[in-house]
């Protein structure tokens, strides 16, 4: 499987708002506590952003918009990542880049 890397993707996402996933150590507490059982969001999608895997983020667009923003993952995150705000920022980015919305 190949993937196109966009080196400036994370910077473009940050134009949409705050995005602070660097502290994530991939421990999986977020995945374990998610009421929806989302296993791609937040960890893997955040990693895609930081690695510049823009296509992968777009492939997971429905998952990004399925998050309840309930913050239960954030409550348990040992790294203090602002997960809900990151998800909102991703939505903001997808609204512009995928849904043609001026947001």
């Amino acid at each position: 499987m190949t993937a196109l890397v966009s080196p400036l993707f994370a910077e473009r996402v940050r134009e949409a708002g705050a995005f602070d996933a660097e502290a994530c150590m991939n421990c999986g507490v977020c995945t374990a506590t998610c009421p929806l059982g989302l296993d791609v969001l937040p960890r893997r999608v955040f990693r895609y952003v930081m690695l510049g895997l823009e296509d992968r983020v777009h492939d997971e667009s429905e998952t990004v918009f399925s998050c309840l923003l309930c913050r239960l993952c954030e409550e348990s995150c040992p790294a203090g990542v602002h997960i809900a705000e990151n998800v909102r920022t991703l939505r903001h980015h997808l609204n512009r880049s995928e849904h043609g919305l001026v947001v």
């Binding site: 949409a16 708002g17 009421p35 929806l36 667009s61 429905e62 918009f65 399925s66 998050c67 309840l68 923003l69 309930c70 913050r71 239960l72 954030e74 409550e75 909102r88 920022t89 991703l90 939505r91 903001h92 980015h93 997808l94 609204n95 995928e98 849904h99 043609g100 919305l101 001026v102 947001v103």
Partner: protein
């Protein structure tokens, strides 16, 4: 099947930008709850609804229509609906909910107003200037239209001399208390949930005479740290509070936040939460209109759900 995400987002965004709400309501339905309460316009302190409880019967119709459209060939025309909505409010074609539903939507704001008065709090209302906060659009990342809405809300509050907005539902509370200050550097209105105000003034206590299961709101518990207040108020009103699996800051979501885009996912989450609540007791108390509607629908007649304001008001009437 869900409608195309981009089209639903476009309609919600355009509605907020052009019409001041993701789902515009007739002014009469926004202000109906004030009838008979003899409230002053504006003033230093107002009870601010953000239209949330009033919106619920309309949201129910919208979600039902989305589900019908999503399961029919017409659903493929959602892009056309998105374009048409810029000229004419397509949600108006859903029609008004029956009068009894619109009347029911007033019950919580009226109960809150009564409880605040009994606690000695003086307040006015903004009536038709009590605008929707933009909470759903904010969650969906539609920040530009939310920023514009925040400015409109701020202008109305300032124009009516408001220094303190007492909010009712968790989403409006969070928007005005925590989100708006990020959008508006000059935001100067204090914001508090009515539960916080009542808990501060709570001076009486009666022996326990009933049990209720408390379903915490995600937004109120985790984003606004309002956890003890509802427990204190229920205990003082004579209720033993039963804690379900996942409560307080660890509460589980009702599914409501994704209902606009993915009604089936929202329903599945509500059903999972209902199972946890059912294991704890038979009468549940909520403090958010989305939780109340979503959980009630998922539970059918297997559980009773009531808003905390109505439970507290009923206990107050029994006491007096």
């Amino acid at each position: 099947m869900a409608l195309a995400t981009g089209d639903v987002l476009g309609i919600l965004s355009d509605n907020l930008r052009l019409r001041g709400s993701v789902l515009p309501l007739p002014a009469r339905d926004v202000t109906r709850w004030t009838e008979g309460l003899d409230l002053e316009r504006g003033g230093r302190t107002v009870l601010y609804t953000g239209q949330m409880y009033q919106l619920m019967p309309y949201i129910e119709r919208l979600v039902a229509a989305e589900q019908r459209l999503g399961n029919s060939p017409l659903g493929r025309l959602s892009g056309l609906g998105r374009r048409a909505n810029r000229i004419v409010n397509v949600s108006s074609f859903l029609g008004r909910p029956p009068r009894h539903e619109r009347e029911e939507a007033c019950r919580v704001p009226r109960a809150v107003a009564t409880l605040l008065r009994e606690a000695g709090v003086s307040f006015g209302s903004l009536f038709e200037d009590d605008l929707y906060s933009g909470a759903l659009a904010y969650d969906l990342g539609l920040d530009a239209v939310v920023a514009a809405q925040a400015r409109r809300v701020h202008e109305r509050l300032r124009g009516n001399g408001v220094k303190l907005a007492i909010t009712i539902d968790p989403h409006t509370t969070h928007m005005l208390h925590t989100v708006y200050p990020h959008f508006l550097p000059d935001w100067d209105v204090a914001v508090r949930s009515y539960l916080e105000i009542l808990a501060e003034r709570n001076g009486h206590s009666v022996a326990a005479h009933g049990e209720v299961v408390l379903h915490d709101s995600c937004v109120l518990a985790r984003a606004e740290d309002v956890v003890e207040e509802p427990r204190l108020l229920l205990a003082s009103a004579g209720f033993s509070v039963l804690e379900p699996e996942q409560s307080g800051r660890s509460t589980w979501c009702c599914g409501g936040p994704v209902e606009a885009l993915y009604p089936e996912k929202a329903r599945a989450q509500a059903e999972r939460r209902v199972e946890q609540l059912r294991a704890a007791g038979s009468e549940c108390v909520t403090m958010c209109p989305l939780c109340l509607v979503n959980l009630s629908k998922a539970a059918g007649d297997t559980l009773v759900f009531r808003d905390i304001s109505e439970v507290l008001l009923e206990a107050s009437r029994l006491r007096n």
